[in-house]
Structures are given as C-alpha cells and as structure tokens.
C-alpha cells in the first residue's frame, strides 16, 4: 500500500522534507509501521521519532496514535505539539 506522509513546523525543517509517498508492505497496518519505517533512516529520523520524543501524528487529518489503522491512500501527518492560539 501507498500512503502520503506530511511533515510540519520544526520536524519539516529537521527532516528537510514537506511530504513524501511511502510504500508499505501489506494492505493495512498500524500507524506504528510508518514510524518504524521512518526511524530506520537513522539520524534525525530515529531521534525525533523515538517513542519518548514527543512528536504528534494525524491520520487523515484527525489526531491519531501508534495503533491508529492506516491503509492505501491514507494521509499521515507528523508534527511537533501544536502551538497556535
């Protein structure tokens, strides 16, 4: 399956990418599978996406967690805690 991954704010700058397409094995997975795949890139990826690093996720524009399901065509966003208002 293919999913779209978006990065925002400080993580967009640290990773040096705004968005990308990711190919994952199988037809569905947990969001955790996306994070695992990205962490394997090492460097900033493994640091910023460590379990206790404090990043946030949304799946299809709704705040999500590691066990939120993802499937083909879904949009996953990864970003720091929000600071609007």
């Amino acid at each position: 399956m293919k999913i779209k991954v978006l990065y925002f704010a400080r993580l967009r700058e640290v990773f040096g990418v705004e968005s990308e397409e990711l190919e994952l094995p199988g037809e569905r997975a947990y969001a955790a599978a996306v994070i695992d795949m990205l962490r394997k890139r090492g460097g900033a990826w493994s640091e910023e996406l460590a379990l206790d690093a404090g990043y946030r996720m949304a799946v299809n524009q709704t705040l999500a967690g590691l066990v939120t399901p993802v499937q083909d065509g879904y949009e996953v966003a990864i970003f720091p805690p929000v600071t609007g208002g």
Binding site: L6, F8, A9, L63, A77, P80, V82, T83, G84, G85
Partner: protein, 150 residues
C-alpha cells in the same frame, strides 16, 4: 457558526456585533482576542510566523466548536485564526460565543481556546533579533485543556 483561517486581520467589534445583532435571545457574548507579544520566554520577539496544516485546520476547529455546542447551550460561535507572517501587537485569534446567560458563554469561550491550544494544527515560529526559533508547547496548556475532562 463561523470558522475561518485567514492571513488577513479581523475586526473584533464587528465579530461581536454579528453574534448578537438582530438576535434578541442573546443576553451574553463572551469573547477572546489573542495577540502577538514582543517578549516570550525572556526573549524579544520581532516577528511571528504561523504555519498550519490546511487540510486539517478547519476540520479540527469545527470539531472543537461542535464539542462546545454539545456541552453548553449556545446560540452562536465565531472562531477566526490567522496564519502567515505577523508581528508584535498583531491579532492572532478571535473566539466569540453568544448565549442566553453569561456562565455558558464564558465557559465555552475558554474551553474553545484551551482545546484550540492543544488540538488545532498551528505552529508558531518566532523571529528574535538574532535568529528564529519554534515556540515550544507549554505544559500549562495541556493542564488547562485537561480541566474540562472532569
């Protein structure tokens, strides 16, 4: 209900008026304006850039307002959040709530701000005299939002 994300400024007086003009049931309008300060965490701030996640932002704000509408008996709500390049003294956000009685208007207005602060996908980057830095989330904002779960 009005929910808007925009680069341009807004007029709090006009927004408040729109919440009660011609609505004789409205006895109370509570509102909030958030502004860019020139000092944050001890450092001078010369500019503030607001980034957001366009596909999610209005949806997220609508969910927060819907929650407030379900929780209190409200007659109308307006929420405007600016994005883009701002500077000290600029307005950032407006929340206005109209209801029959003041208690509900106050509670819902503060609830919407507290939830917006922890759930809506906005990020602030501050320009300081020497550099730029992303604003860090405050634990106090989490605490403020947690209060409403009791």
């Amino acid at each position: 209900m009005k929910i808007q994300v925009q680069e341009s400024d807004f007029d709090p007086g006009a927004e408040i008026a729109a919440l009660h003009a011609g609505q004789p049931k409205v006895g109370a309008v509570a509102s909030f304006v958030g502004l860019v300060r020139d000092l944050n965490d001890g450092e001078s701030v010369t500019s503030l850039t607001l980034e957001h996640y366009p596909a999610m932002t209005e949806k997220s704000l609508r969910e927060i307002v819907d929650q407030a509408m379900g929780r209190w008996s409200l007659l109308d709500v307006s929420l405007i959040h600016r994005v883009g390049e701002l500077k000290p003294l600029d307005r950032i956000v407006f929340v206005g709530v109209a209801s029959m009685h003041r208690g509900e208007a106050f509670a819902a207005c503060e609830f919407i701000m507290d939830y917006l602060k922890t759930l809506a996908p906005f990020w602030k980057k501050e320009g300081t005299p020497g550099s730029e830095r992303w604003v860090e989330a405050h634990a106090s904002d989490e605490t403020a939002a947690e209060r409403w779960k009791k």
